[in-house]
């Protein structure tokens, strides 16, 4: 075991994948000589040569479309979008081709590529550097959408993404890049489609993914002082989603709060809340509540902490989970006959 950062684990996953499979090519903006602005591709060009790890023209649609063509020729591209919001020019390629090529061609062609997207905020980034864009991808059938919250998951999920026969949008929480933990590589954690209980508890379930997982863990720890024993479930792979693990947890605890850093409206958390409610209605003692970012464009750095889901906001929400069987005052004024 050694202490390492998530950035280092991701770097190791890329290196090991390139070592194991010579079809794997890593490319994007600044990923070669520089090693990426977050250094996730550090050293890959020196080790594997500039035919396997290379810089491209600064054009995201071009990068993703080029990867589609390379995949058609039998290669395994892993591309980096430098920042979440800079991936938007590639959205047509992702939504119309990456996600659909297998289906359009009844399996004749497939797109086994990985699109790495450093995403979300909490790093004091200026505008267009902190978007939580996972819902756009999760809403697009044909894509798998994966987001690690731990160091070992970062390694294992990226290896699995590169080996997967389908396209994977691999969302890397920027604020966790330099979080560190004891890890032994090569780690293989639970496969795609598996959510994991990070912390067992009996009173309520916090469901979170990516950058919200550490917030949920911290909130669960703090909740002990309030007398609540909270369970934390890390979603890990938004698509495919593990209904079983989430529903089993909520049936045990009877209460659920879904936490996401992204703005809330029509987000992944809304989908999870709906799925929990559909599956666990008779086990629920309270409505499923959500904690999310505000429904605003991502704020300027000095205001981002108002936007981001905080431990306090999570605890305030847990407090509204019908512990005393009283109507939630927050909703009383809405939709009343008066």
């Amino acid at each position: 075991m050694a202490t390492m950062t998530m950035a280092k684990a991701l770097n190791a996953a890329l290196a090991d994948a390139m070592l194991d499979d010579e079809r794997v090519l890593v490319f994007g903006e600044d990923v070669g000589q520089l090693g990426g602005v977050f250094r996730i591709t550090d050293g890959l060009q020196a080790r594997f040569g500039d035919k396997r790890c290379f810089d491209t023209p600064l054009a995201e649609a071009g990068i993703v479309g080029f990867a589609v063509g390379l995949a058609m020729s039998g290669l395994r591209p892993v591309v980096e979008m430098q920042f979440d919001a800079f991936a938007y020019p590639a959205f047509e390629q992702i939504a119309s081709h990456v996600a659909k090529l297998r289906n359009r061609t009844r399996g004749s062609l497939s797109v086994p590529i990985v699109i790495r997207v450093p995403y979300a905020g909490g790093i004091g980034g200026v505008e267009h550097h902190c978007d939580s864009s996972e819902a756009y991808y999760a809403h697009t059938p044909g894509l798998k959408v994966v987001t690690p919250a731990t160091v070992e998951d970062a390694y294992s999920l990226l290896r699995e993404a590169i080996e997967d026969p389908d396209p994977v949008v691999f969302m890397e929480p920027k604020k966790l890049y330099f979080s560190s933990a004891e890890a032994e590589l090569p780690a293989r954690t639970a496969p795609f489609g598996t959510a994991v209980v990070r912390r067992p508890g009996t009173d309520a379930t916090l469901v979170a993914y990516g950058p919200a997982v550490p917030v949920a863990m911290e909130a669960a720890e703090a909740a002990r002082e309030e007398g609540w024993d909270l369970e934390v479930v890390d979603v890990r792979t938004i698509v495919p989603f593990d209904d079983g693990t989430v529903a089993a947890s909520v049936r045990r605890t009877g209460r659920c709060v879904v936490i996401q850093e992204a703005q809330g409206f029509a987000g992944v958390g809304a989908e999870i809340a709906a799925r929990v409610q559909e599956r666990c209605f008779h086990a629920l003692h309270a409505p499923v509540l959500r904690v999310s970012g505000l429904d605003i464009p991502y704020p300027a750095p000095m205001l981002e902490h108002t936007h981001l889901p905080s431990v306090d906001r999570v605890l305030d929400t847990v407090a509204r989970l019908q512990w005393d069987d009283q109507p939630d005052a927050r909703w009383l004024s809405q939709g009343s006959a008066a």
Partner: protein, 390 residues
């Protein structure tokens, strides 16, 4: 010393400064010729041969004629099938036969083609079953043929996105030691899309063996070329990316095949991409659902009728003594039989399986898709039961 060495040098006739040689023009070999390459007059008579564009072998031209005649008949039949409700829509390429067939003839079977929705004729000319080609437009699936087997990407309806795929595929092929060439079709309107520029640029930077073949048929649905570009010609778009480019009379079959053969050879030899603009005209509306009289007048269409590529090649081959009445009749008969077979097979109602909707979203369906498939299966069973009760 009373004179400086410099003064001595200036004084010496032997060291007189020679006339500065012109700096090499960095755009040399990149810009197209000022006029489109043309080897036949519009009436089919031959123009003088030219060293930069050798005429293709006569057997190739005879084959081109055959495929153009069959292709046109296919196109007319497909338009007719829309009127019978057998096709949801059909974008015709009548008038563009020289481009549709020339591109295919310039390639090997193992080369890759990246077609748009208007390339149905090119695909049937490549030997793909016309029923499979028309599957997209009949509506029983998106792509009816096997792209991997035919080395032909699905017909692309988002504009210009295929330009980048062609760059990636071609680079991937050469990276793996194969000498495959990719040819990407694109129309005049789509050269305004970002992906055209990104595709050409990626291909150039990575020296990918791609031929970008612009069929400039003058209109993007209703919008004329003057609204797409202020460039002297679309072939001028290559120079900015360092890509050699040429323009050709797209209704001159001999010139089209000659120029595309040169472009493909350039790419296959490892010199990187090549851009060809063919000046042509679609004789039909954008699709059967379009009304072209709203944006172009009859005189313009009539003028292009005089440049018909099929008649032009026929006149030329007859004059050359390699095509006679019997051969023309035999090819016409083949075309009729092709259309009759297509008509008959398209009259059969295709079977579709709703449960197949879940088969190819992923290599393995997600648990959610498995659930939805079960739901649809139950719905279908219930519908069958209620039909049985009725």
């Amino acid at each position: 010393m009373t004179t400086t060495p410099q003064a001595v040098r200036r004084a010496s006739p032997r060291t007189r400064r020679p006339a500065t040689p012109a700096a090499p023009d960095p755009s040399a070999g990149l810009l197209p010729q000022a006029e489109p390459v043309r080897l036949l007059n519009p009436d089919g008579t031959a123009l003088p041969s030219r060293a930069d564009c050798p005429e293709p072998p006569v057997e190739a031209l005879r084959e081109m004629y055959r495929r153009m005649v069959v292709g046109r008949r296919f196109d007319v039949q497909a338009t007719a099938l829309t009127k019978q409700g057998r096709l949801a829509v059909y974008p015709s390429s009548r008038g563009q036969e020289a481009c549709q067939v020339g591109a295919i003839l310039a390639l090997r079977d193992d080369d890759w083609v990246f077609p748009t929705y208007r390339e149905s004729m090119a695909l049937t000319s490549r030997g793909i079953d016309p029923v499979e080609v028309l599957t997209l437009l009949r509506g029983d699936w998106h792509c009816g043929y096997d792209p991997a087997q035919r080395h032909t990407a699905p017909q692309c309806t988002p504009l210009a996105t295929q330009c980048v795929h062609a760059a990636g595929l071609a680079y991937g092929e050469s990276y793996q030691g194969r000498d495959t060439v990719a040819l990407a079709f694109i129309g005049d309107g789509a050269t305004s899309e970002g992906d055209f520029h990104e595709g050409v640029n990626f291909a150039a930077v990575f020296k990918a063996p791609v031929v970008y073949f612009v069929q400039n048929n003058k209109y993007a649905i209703s919008v004329p070329l003057s609204r797409q570009t202020a460039a002297p010609s679309l072939a001028y778009k290559g120079v900015g990316y360092g890509v050699p480019s040429e323009q050709v009379d797209g209704n001159d079959p001999v010139a089209v095949l000659a120029v595309l053969t040169r472009a493909v050879a350039h790419a296959r030899a490892g010199h990187g991409p090549y851009l060809v603009e063919a000046h042509t005209y679609r004789m039909e509306p954008h699709t059967n659902a379009d009304d072209a009289t709203r944006y172009r007048d009859a005189d313009e269409v009539e003028a292009w009728r005089d440049r018909d590529p099929v008649a032009r090649l026929e006149t030329y081959l007859r004059a050359k003594g390699v095509l006679d009445d019997a051969a023309v009749a035999a090819i016409a008969e083949e075309a009729e039989a092709y259309a009759a077979d297509l008509r008959e097979r398209m009259n059969a109602q295709p079977t579709v399986d709703p449960l197949s909707l879940f088969d190819h979203v992923y290599a393995e369906p997600t648990p959610q898709l498995v659930e939805q498939r079960e739901q649809v299966r139950a719905e279908l069973a219930a519908a069958r039961d209620s039909e049985g009760d009725a």
